[in-house]
């Protein structure tokens, strides 16, 4: 038997995009500069008008993504004392694509001492028969501040959702602050039952990490008078952070709940 000249290639998705977009924000005088702003594949990065000393970046989806088999990644780093705001121009729609294989969409955010980062993308829509594994991994220095909002829509109008798994992992000063893995759609046992989503199709979270919350830890509070339309809870975490979790019948009610719990700029 003839030895093969190279080891067999690891199993690759037959089709699918591999792309990593990179953003780096640094402090430059009284402002924040963006020495790295590198789009890739479906990610087209645009510099938006700064807001005081905060730089702003908008991610434009240059093609429909993520599709099954895609391997997408966004890395954003905020250096010491810099302030960065990132949003997306439109909702992200996970679609089935040419293969049944799952897509991955990994977001890795890092904020150094005295830096602030706002990650406020438009909703992610899990279309029928899509299969997406999303991770959002965040590393914060002790004095860094974070504002994150994630919204998920389970299925387009009148269709069931695809498979959607999202892991949100936040470390502060190297210690775990928040670690949540949510799974919806086919293959996620009990996902639409009374413990998890119970018929709601729009789910959102706002996470605020701010050392100032150590001085004034908020109390847990509830929002939403009509459980059928939606409910939200604001929960102080075991650290200087609060998490707002909202469940609603649709995005309209979700926005109302999230705004009631924490109006965003």
């Amino acid at each position: 038997m003839t030895p093969s000249p190279s080891p067999p290639a690891p199993a690759q998705p037959a089709l699918g995009v591999r792309a990593t977009a990179r953003i780096r924000a640094t402090r430059a005088g009284g402002a924040t500069a963006l020495p790295t702003l590198a789009g890739d594949g479906p990610f087209d990065l645009r510099r938006a008008r700064p807001h005081g000393d905060q730089a702003r970046v908008c991610i434009l989806g240059a093609m429909s993504a993520p599709l099954g088999g895609d391997r997408l990644r966004i890395e954003a780093t905020v250096d010491h004392g810099a302030h960065l705001h990132i949003t997306t121009a439109a909702a992200t729609i996970a679609l089935r694509g040419p293969t049944d294989e799952h897509a991955t969409y990994d977001v890795h955010l890092t904020a150094a001492e005295h830096a602030s980062l706002q990650w406020l993308p438009q909703p992610l829509i899990s279309a029928a028969r899509s299969n997406l594994r999303q991770t959002c991994t965040i590393d914060l220095a002790p004095t860094a501040r974070l504002l994150l909002r994630e919204q998920v829509v389970l299925g387009r109008v009148g269709e069931p959702p695809g498979r959607l798994a999202t892991r949100l992992t936040v470390h502060r000063d190297g210690r775990p602050l928040l670690d949540q893995h949510t799974m919806y759609g086919p293959g996620a046992p009990g996902w639409d039952g009374p413990a998890i989503a119970a018929g709601h199709r729009a789910i959102g979270q706002i996470l605020i990490v701010d050392p100032a919350l150590d001085q004034q830890p908020p109390h847990a509070s509830l929002f939403g008078d009509d459980p059928a339309a939606g409910q939200a809870v604001l929960t102080p975490l075991a650290g200087p952070a609060v998490l707002i979790t909202a469940l609603a019948s649709d995005t309209l009610h979700l926005h109302r709940l999230l705004n009631a719990a924490r109006p965003l700029p």
């Binding site: 775990p176 949510t182 046992p189 413990a195 509830l222 809870v233 929960t235 979790t245």
Partner: protein
């Protein structure tokens, strides 16, 4: 190894305070989300694969000898609701009392000294399993089973369900229990190499919302 100790640890009559807790079932019943046996089964399935899996992973890791105080941090990060963190620590404190009598052991004493107000219940459960001579998989089974046994017992009382129907729910979830316990034990094997991030972090939005809602109710039968 002493497998029979698992029967003692997982027995619903083990005096560790669980009888006064519904695992979120009381709020689900009060809110009208669980009305019958079918609703109870879906509730249990969702809880088992989220907070049950998390508890099983933490318990397996503690049983494998991983540092309990690091698991405490991991449990906090996996428990967004302060009401659920409070409940977990209360139950952990009560379990610690019972376990120290049942299986006296230096590791349980050390945890009691380090956390006089209570450690997270799954961490205590795993350590108790370790002190009882059980394996990480056994601890995962105990935690996973408890995550649905409590809600089933509570719902029998709350909705006056036929107890045979309710027990059949548990029996039907046996394969899910096998799966969850195996996944938890497998994750715990990776913790020494990969740290607590290797452990499951399943999250259920309604369990968090319901736990805080329940904590505000003036009239309730169960503590959680």
């Amino acid at each position: 190894m002493n497998r029979a100790a698992l029967l003692v640890l997982a027995d619903g009559r083990f005096p560790a305070g669980g009888h006064a807790h519904s695992g979120g079932a009381e709020e689900a019943v009060t809110a009208g989300r669980v009305r019958d046996v079918a609703g109870l089964e879906e509730f249990c399935r969702g809880r088992l694969h989220t907070s049950g899996l998390v508890a099983a992973g933490l318990a397996a890791a503690a049983a494998a000898g991983y540092e309990p105080l690091l698991l405490e941090e991991a449990a906090d990060a996996r428990t967004a609701s302060p009401a659920l963190r409070h409940t977990s620590r209360r139950l952990g404190r009560q379990l610690l009392r019972a376990a120290r009598s049942a299986w006296p052991c230096a590791e349980l004493e050390a945890l009691a000294a380090a956390r006089p107000r209570g450690a997270h219940q799954p961490v205590v459960l795993g350590l108790a399993a370790r002190c009882a001579g059980l394996m990480p998989l056994d601890a995962a089974y105990a935690a996973a089973y408890e995550s649905i046994g409590g809600p089933v017992t509570a719902t029998v009382r709350l909705l006056r369900l036929d107890p045979f129907d309710a027990t059949a729910v548990l029996a039907r979830l046996a394969a899910d229990l096998d799966h969850v316990a195996a996944a938890a034990a497998e994750a715990a094997q990776r913790i020494h190499a990969d740290g607590p991030a290797a452990l499951p972090a399943g999250s259920a939005p309604l369990l968090d919302i319901a736990a805080e809602q329940h904590a505000t109710r003036a009239a309730r039968l169960f503590a959680s």
